[in-house]
């Protein structure tokens, strides 16, 4: 089974690597945000720069998980290759595990531009242990977004997936405190902030970046979102199975 997961991951990764612009796209927006909004204001402060870098890394990870994954799943579903894949002797697990592994690899790649900007223009802490911890937190915090991405990709035609995933992405990023830190967010946003999954992810990443230990509520909420999104994605997969007219 694990060799099949690897075969599917390899196949997905080859498809991604052969269109390299897609690799960069996810990392570019957070890198530019880092350069424009973080570097001028907190660039001299090592602790604040590291926290900002963490927020931007998570934004890149979320975009690879939510936007890129939902679009590629929706597009693949429209190809006649997809039903053929379903005739191969493998259940849904290798296919989706392969997709998730590839999405995670993409997330790691998407942190590179932010890290470079942080290294050149800020005093952020870039020790290998610190970086590894932050990347690990980004991967953990992005799990519900990967599952939401799968759910959207399985439910929607690709054009709708492009729109809906972007519409969801920005509120998640803003309410989660990734664009503006929670300390400077308006009061009403701070009230709802713990209930979006991006806040729990943010708390994990900030902790890994040397910030305060995460509060319990956002982490519980993150776990709930993960379970609900996982159930929704599994349901959408089963629903999709009997769907297409052919």
């Amino acid at each position: 089974m694990s060799s099949l997961i690897l075969a599917h991951a390899r196949y997905q990764a080859l498809e991604q690597i052969r269109v390299p612009i897609g690799l960069l796209a996810g990392g570019l927006f957070p890198a530019i945000s880092m350069l424009a909004f973080a570097a001028p204001f907190v660039g001299d402060d090592p602790a604040a720069s590291t926290l900002s870098m963490g927020s931007m890394m998570l934004i890149g990870g979320m975009s690879a998980a939510l936007i890129a994954l939902s679009i590629s799943v929706a597009q693949d579903r429209e190809q006649p290759w997809n039903p053929y894949l379903r005739t191969l002797p493998a259940g849904p697990l290798p296919h989706f595990a392969g997709r998730l592994l590839t999405a995670m690899a993409l997330m790691v790649v998407s942190t590179i531009p932010v890290t470079l900007v942080a290294a050149i223009f800020t005093e952020a802490d870039l020790s290998p242990v610190r970086l590894a911890g932050m990347i690990g937190a980004v991967l953990a915090g992005s799990v519900p977004f990967m599952l939401i991405g799968l759910f959207l990709g399985l439910m929607l035609p690709s054009k709708a997936a492009i729109a809906v995933s972007q519409i969801l992405f920005f509120p998640f990023a803003i309410v989660g405190g990734l664009m503006l830190p929670p300390q400077v967010m308006p009061g009403f946003l701070n009230v709802i902030s713990p209930y979006v999954p991006s806040r729990g992810g943010g708390e994990l990443v900030w902790w890994a970046a040397g910030g305060a230990a995460p509060a319990a509520l956002p982490l519980v909420v993150l776990a709930c979102w993960t379970v609900v999104a996982g159930v929704a994605a599994a349901w959408a997969y089963r629903r999709d199975e009997g769907r297409r007219f052919s």
Binding site: R10, R18, V19, W81, P83, Y84, T87, P89, S246
Partner: protein, 297 residues
């Protein structure tokens, strides 16, 4: 003989559309079965049931002694993808490796590609292949897991004559080694070249399931049309399988148009506008089945 795949009274609906209507078919080990019928007849739906892409609305489908929805059972089958959907950015060798990785018994890559005339293209990206090369690659993928039973859906559509013959040779070689094949086509010629047994489907029903020879005879039906006001004795004319009237025009379905015309002239009945045309497969089979059902009533 062992039955490798069977449907029993399988019905499949898509909403209000009845795609398959109580179809029972057995595919036995070592057979090369042609599935023939016009577009929309239910061929693809039947294949989709066998390969686990669809479940029947009612009735049962059995594959290699198990259920097609069990991945372990599907290790024994091979399926052709539609060539238009092959992942464009992958190389030929990579896609063969990917498909092979699903099967415990794998065909040797070089030998497999050679067999389908793709030996020089291992490193080529699929997007750069010609339509015919993609088609051959799609068929080759069905054999990557050394299957006992392959489902070939329209394997040679869009190929030139030479490539078509090469593919036919590949399919025949697999069959001679003991492999079982279910082949769909809307070309009678293709089924004739390969199949020993033919299943004809139309409007979701099995219209005929017989040897190639028997089916060919049925397909030999001709339509004799003429304008005639009064031909009360028509049903007594020899070899007429069915009669249709359309205003003043009469259409007679027959396997022996020459004899029918001779008899018509002999009968002395006045007629004009005589026309003899081959029937389409669908027409031929619907005529025969309609005639059969009528006889039973």
């Amino acid at each position: 003989m062992t039955v490798l795949a069977r449907t029993v009274e399988a019905t499949r609906r898509y909403g209000d559309v009845l795609a398959l209507d109580r179809v029972s078919v057995d595919i036995r080990a070592g057979e090369l079965v042609g599935l023939l019928g016009p577009n929309g007849a239910g061929k693809s739906t039947l294949i989709n049931l066998f390969v686990g892409l669809r479940r029947p609305s009612s009735g049962t489908v059995e594959l290699l002694g198990g259920s097609p929805s069990d991945p372990a059972v599907r290790r024994g089958i091979g399926v052709t993808p539609q060539e238009t959907g092959l992942p464009e950015v992958l190389r030929v060798g990579e896609i063969v490796d990917f498909v092979s990785s699903h099967f415990p018994r794998r065909a040797a890559k070089a030998e497999l590609l050679d067999r389908f005339g793709l030996g020089d293209l291992v490193k080529r990206q699929i997007g750069g292949l010609s339509g015919g090369q993609k088609r051959r690659l799609a068929v080759a993928l069905a054999f990557a897991g050394r299957p006992r039973l392959v489902f070939l859906d329209e394997p040679t559509t869009g190929l030139d004559v030479e490539a078509r013959r090469a593919l036919w040779d590949g399919i025949k070689a697999f069959h001679e080694d003991g492999g079982t094949v279910l082949l769909t086509s809307h070309y009678l010629e293709e089924i004739e070249a390969l199949a020993e047994r033919v299943v004809v489907v139309g409007h979701g029903r099995v219209l005929a399931d017989d040897t190639m020879r028997a089916v060919r005879d049925v397909v030999g039906v001709r339509r004799v049309s003429l304008d005639a006001g009064e031909l009360p004795e028509l049903p007594e004319l020899p070899g007429v399988a069915a009669v249709e009237r359309e205003g003043g025009r009469v259409h007679l379905m027959t396997t022996d148009p020459d004899r029918l015309v001779v008899e018509l002239v002999r009968s002395g009945a006045p007629f004009s506008g005589l026309e003899i045309r081959p029937t389409s497969l669908e027409e031929a089979f619907l005529t025969i089945t309609a005639a059969k059902e009528h006889a039973h009533v």
